[in-house]
């Protein structure tokens, strides 16, 4: 489903020199699987999520990234989104003056339009929204407020998963979704994420800590260090990391 081969990428700040962050990253996530990418700060976890979704300021210098056989890197961010790529942001943006539901409906319809599908009807949209909000224990009043403005860290993360449930993406990247969540909220969010697991979908769970993976059980775990995958294994690798830390990989990298 998602295939990364020897990916090299650098961050290009508006001021200052560019820095190479990804240095030959290879990764394959088949449809139906959940893969975790773990790694210390600065290992390139967020860069990976931004490169895959097409954020400005990141430049791929070598290698490839394909989604269902199609070159992702040449596509505009909104085209990638319409193909089913969704990023749950580590730091969701505040969008003043745009109510959550207005925004999500516009996004949903933009994606449908790009795929040549009909727009969602108002009753259908409300039904979907109600179900998603109930699953994530989101107060419906919150969905009328401007997106993320004045929301707590936990509320913002819950809103990310709400958008994910609404947009029903085919491939999800969760970037540090557990940060800012207490244990109860973590369970609610994990339940929402697990609801989207299925044979046609893939997922990349990027996290620093193991605790999210207690609730979203990965099929594979990869350790990202110094811009490449240093080790891959089953779910037990996450537990091992929790015990022994990342130092072993830092030295090796």
């Amino acid at each position: 489903m998602l295939d990364l081969k020897n990916l090299h990428a650098r961050v290009v700040p508006e001021d200052g020199p560019s820095r190479e962050i990804l240095k030959g990253l290879s990764l394959h996530v088949p449809a139906g699987e959940v893969h975790a990418v773990m790694g210390p700060n600065g290992s390139g976890k967020s860069t990976l999520s931004y490169v895959l979704t097409g954020k400005h300021g990141y430049e791929v210098t070598a290698g490839s990234a394909t989604f269902e056989g199609e070159d992702l890197l040449v596509l505009e961010p909104e085209v990638r989104a319409a193909k089913g790529l969704f990023l749950s942001f580590q730091y969701p943006l505040e969008i003043a003056g745009v109510p959550v539901m207005t925004f999500v409906r516009a996004a949903m319809n933009a994606q449908r339009k790009a795929r040549g599908e009909a727009e969602v009807s108002a009753p259908d949209f409300l039904k979907l929204s109600k179900a998603a909000a109930a699953r994530l224990r989101i107060d419906p009043e919150m969905l009328k407020r401007p997106l993320n403005v004045g929301f707590s860290g936990g509320e913002k993360k819950r809103l990310e998963i709400y958008q994910m449930l609404m947009l029903e993406p085919r491939f999800m990247i969760l970037d540090e979704t557990d940060s800012g969540l207490d244990i109860d909220a973590l369970k609610v969010v994990a339940d929402g994420v697990n609801a989207l697991r299925g044979p046609g979908r893939g997922m990349l769970v990027i996290t620093h800590y193991q605790r999210l993976l207690d609730h979203i059980r990965p099929d594979r775990v990869h350790v990202l260090s110094a811009g490449r995958i240093a080790k891959s294994g089953g779910p037990e690798l996450a537990l091992e990391l929790e015990k022994s830390g990342y130092d072993q990989f830092l030295k090796a990298g």
Binding site: P77, E78, A82, A96, G97, A106
Partner: protein, 333 residues
């Protein structure tokens, strides 16, 4: 009146809107007309181009009446006064529509507005510009407002600019008056829109709120000059001024001069002023959710501007103004 009588960039309050330069080559309009008036150039233009109709006088004693004026190229200047008797309430709607026609391109209006104690006025100025690309229009609009004790003045201005457009409001407030003056300006390419205002807090307990939001595209120029003056007698003034502008592209210009001048010692006055570009991270967030780049930018810009639309603005006017903003955002230049 002569060209040399007009304010130019050397005149502090007109430094970003050079009226003399805008009138160069069109001196013929000025010849044979009256002298510069003490009220200033906008009043002089309005009277001069009033085509001999003389000043209009409107006295309002009733409740909730709406009075509407319209002006376009070729129309006579408007010059006159509006008085609201004590306790009266009314809405004044001034429509200034630049069409790009070849008729006389001067659209001047000057009004002296007096609110007696306890009166309430909503004033809405909708200045649109439907010309294709370039227009020759000179829009000059000024209201000089005097508020009696406990009077309420609410104003909203939409300015789309012209070759040169200046919409100016001066308010002098007596005890306990309430003032709200919001505005939105949209400066497209080759358009100049100047919103200038001055509020004098001349007595105790005046409450003033001002929120102005503007956008400028490449080759467009927006000007905001706002001044709050609190005189020695203006104790307990509660006044907040906010101007925020978005520059939509390289070569867009916004000039802003927010000013507080305070002579009383027990006041709460604040002002904020920003001009910057759209947050690219926010644009990316919206695009990641599937909105095309232009729609993402329009959504952010629209929400930014709509925040300045006052809650008291009733339908269908509110819908009309939102429609003007949306149409402007959809247009490419």
């Amino acid at each position: 009146m002569q060209l040399a009588d007009l304010p130019s960039r050397r005149t502090e309050t007109w430094k970003w809107s050079d009226l003399r330069a805008a009138m160069a080559g069109q001196e013929a309009v000025l010849i044979g007309t009256g002298a510069m008036l003490a009220e200033g150039p906008i009043a002089a233009f309005a009277e001069m181009l009033g085509d001999g109709y003389g000043p209009s006088e409107l006295v309002i004693a009733g409740q909730d009446e709406t009075f509407e004026t319209r002006m376009s190229e070729g129309d006579a200047g408007q010059f006159g006064s509006v008085t609201l008797k004590a306790g009266a309430s009314a809405t004044l709607l001034e429509r200034i529509a630049v069409t790009g026609s070849r008729l006389r391109p001067f659209l001047p209006a000057h009004a002296r507005i007096t609110l007696e104690p306890g009166a309430t006025l909503k004033r809405i100025v909708v200045q649109t510009n439907a010309a294709d690309a370039v227009d020759a229009a000179l829009v000059l609009n000024e209201a000089v407002v005097t508020l009696g004790a406990g009077a309420t003045f609410r104003q909203f201005v939409l300015g789309q600019g012209a070759r040169l457009a200046r919409i100016e409001t001066s308010v002098t407030a007596a005890e306990g008056a309430t003032i709200e003056m919001n505005a939105v300006y949209l400066a497209a390419s080759r358009r100049h829109v100047d919103l200038t205002s001055r509020v004098t807090h001349a007595a105790p307990g005046v409450n003033t709120r001002q929120l102005v939001r503007g956008v400028a595209r490449k080759g467009g120029r927006g000007v905001f000059q706002g001044k709050f003056l609190v005189e020695r007698a203006g104790q307990k003034a509660d006044a907040a001024m906010q101007h925020n502008a978005l520059l939509l592209g390289e070569g867009a210009e916004v000039f802003a001069k927010p000013e507080l001048e305070i002579y009383a010692d027990d006041v709460a006055c604040a002002h904020g002023n920003t001009a910057g570009q759209i947050d690219e991270d926010a644009v990316f967030y919206l695009r990641q959710r599937g909105l095309p780049d232009d729609e993402a930018r329009a959504m952010i810009t629209r929400a930014f501007l709509f925040e300045a639309l006052p809650s008291w603005l009733d339908e269908p006017l509110r819908g009309e103004i939102e429609g003007c903003i949306d149409a402007w955002l959809r247009a490419s230049s």
